[in-house]
């Protein structure tokens, strides 16, 4: 079948099998930042924003995402300027192997969009669909708090 998608702000027209998952389609089309982990909706490494809601792209049939807005982690940064959350993850040492990082950052982004100053408990709950097998999560929670501060400061400056 053929379908149209708006990926990171650009309209894309693709041919794909009717039973293809959004994860596989995005990766086939070069969006390597969407990682393939468990394919069961458990690990969160394949997360994308679908109509601005975070979803596991492995649990979305591509056909059901036609004519919808999709954003990957790469869409968060503006030009050469990394998103404050991306910087925060690097500064906090929250990236080890990096496999979970795109999903983690998108989950954190969704949280901070609705709640700019979350508690640690709220951060844990928002990241409940994202596994990290390297860091033990402490540095990730630290990165989200650091990113929240950066985003608040950026907002004040603007």
């Amino acid at each position: 079948m053929r379908g149209s998608f708006v990926v990171n702000g650009s309209v894309r027209e693709w041919e794909f099998p009717e039973d293809m998952r959004l994860l596989d389609l995005l990766r086939r089309e070069g969006y390597g930042e969407v990682k393939c982990g468990c394919r069961e909706g458990m690990c969160g490494s394949c997360c994308v924003l679908l109509e601005e809601k975070i979803v596991n792209s492995c649990q979305v049939l591509a056909a059901s995402a036609t004519n919808k807005q999709i954003r990957t982690v790469e869409a968060l940064s503006e030009g050469e300027e990394p998103h404050p959350l991306v910087t925060a993850f690097a500064e906090a040492g929250a990236v080890q192997c990096g496999f979970c990082t795109p999903g983690m950052i998108l989950a954190a982004y969704c949280l901070l969009r609705d709640n700019p100053d979350p508690s640690e408990e709220e951060i844990k709950r928002a990241l409940d669909g994202n596994y990290c097998r390297c860091t033990g999560y402490v540095k990730i929670f630290d990165a989200v708090q650091r990113g929240a501060r950066k985003m608040r400061e950026k907002e004040v400056q603007e």
């Binding site: 079948m1 998952r21 909706g41 679908l50 809601k53 975070i54 649990q59 049939l61 056909a63 928002a126």
Partner: protein, 270 residues
């Protein structure tokens, strides 16, 4: 496989009449169960009326296409302790809650459901459209497998009553499937228990209302409440699970039940 993108309920009903029609809400259960190559996939995301949430006239109505996340968010705005806020807010994980729909979850009736217990406790009714159009009580729907084919769950409705609530999902870790769930709703008046509803899920009967427990506490004031030997009111329908044996789970459920009842009725919440 062929995809259809209806915009109205009438179009959905027409498509439901086709052979091999499969309704696609969030799609998570379909992927788990395996896709039929010959299936006619009817995507419901374009049907606006299935995503409506209406709270008026003492009734709350949730569209069958409303996601767990959206239901928890909207109900939580007016009642943060609503039983569905507690249950749906804890189910699965954030990205999945943004996909799983109420209608899909009721239709699939997975053993690990965090929806069926609370809906039964709330006395919810389902509005079906299709082969059997009309309103059906949850209990009737659950014991009538024929209602699951040829019908669309248009919406669910229940009285907008203010309850004291307690919800428990028995899991090994926060993202685990629950071995069982307990939904407790309680209303008190003048120190007496006016109404109590206790619903257990996860047993071989899927959903069971614990009428014996309800009768023990209803109409009682604080001095008359007896929290001892609650295990005798729990059914023998628990099954062996990765979480533990049937008898173990029954004992754990008795402890959870006592905790919930004490918490709701102002006793020791430990």
């Amino acid at each position: 496989m062929e995809w259809f993108f209806p915009k109205t309920v009438d179009e959905v009903i027409e498509l439901l009449g086709k052979e091999d029609a499969v309704l696609h809400g969030g799609g998570t259960m379909l992927l788990r169960g395996g896709l039929r190559p010959s299936g006619k996939m009817v995507d419901l995301s374009g049907v606006e009326s299935l995503r409506q949430i209406v709270m008026e006239g003492g009734v709350t109505s949730l569209g069958g296409g409303v996601t767990y996340a959206e239901a928890a968010r909207r109900l939580g705005e007016s009642d943060p302790d609503h039983i569905l806020v507690q249950s749906l807010g804890k189910a699965a994980a954030t990205p999945l809650r943004n996909r799983i729909t109420l209608g899909g979850s009721v239709m699939a009736q997975p053993l690990w459901s965090d929806l069926l217990g609370p809906l039964t406790a709330l006395g919810a009714e389902l509005r079906l459209e299709g082969k059997n159009s009309g309103f059906f009580e949850m209990a009737e729907f659950l014991r009538s497998p024929e209602l699951r084919s040829g019908n669309l769950i248009h919406s669910l409705r229940f009285p907008s009553v203010s309850w004291r609530t307690w919800y428990h999902r028995e899991t090994r870790t926060s993202f685990d499937y629950p071995a069982f769930t307990l939904s407790l709703l309680c209303r008190q008046e003048g120190g007496r228990v006016k109404e109590l509803r206790v619903v257990l899920t996860g047993t071989s009967k899927k959903v069971e209302r614990l009428l014996g427990v309800e009768e023990r506490f209803q109409g009682r004031d604080a001095e008359e409440r007896n929290f001892r030997n609650l295990e005798e009111f729990l059914p023998e329908t628990f099954v062996d699970r990765p979480h533990g044996s049937a008898s173990y789970l029954r004992s754990v459920a008795a402890v959870a039940l006592e905790r919930g009842l004490r918490k709701l009725m102002g006793g020791d919440a430990a």
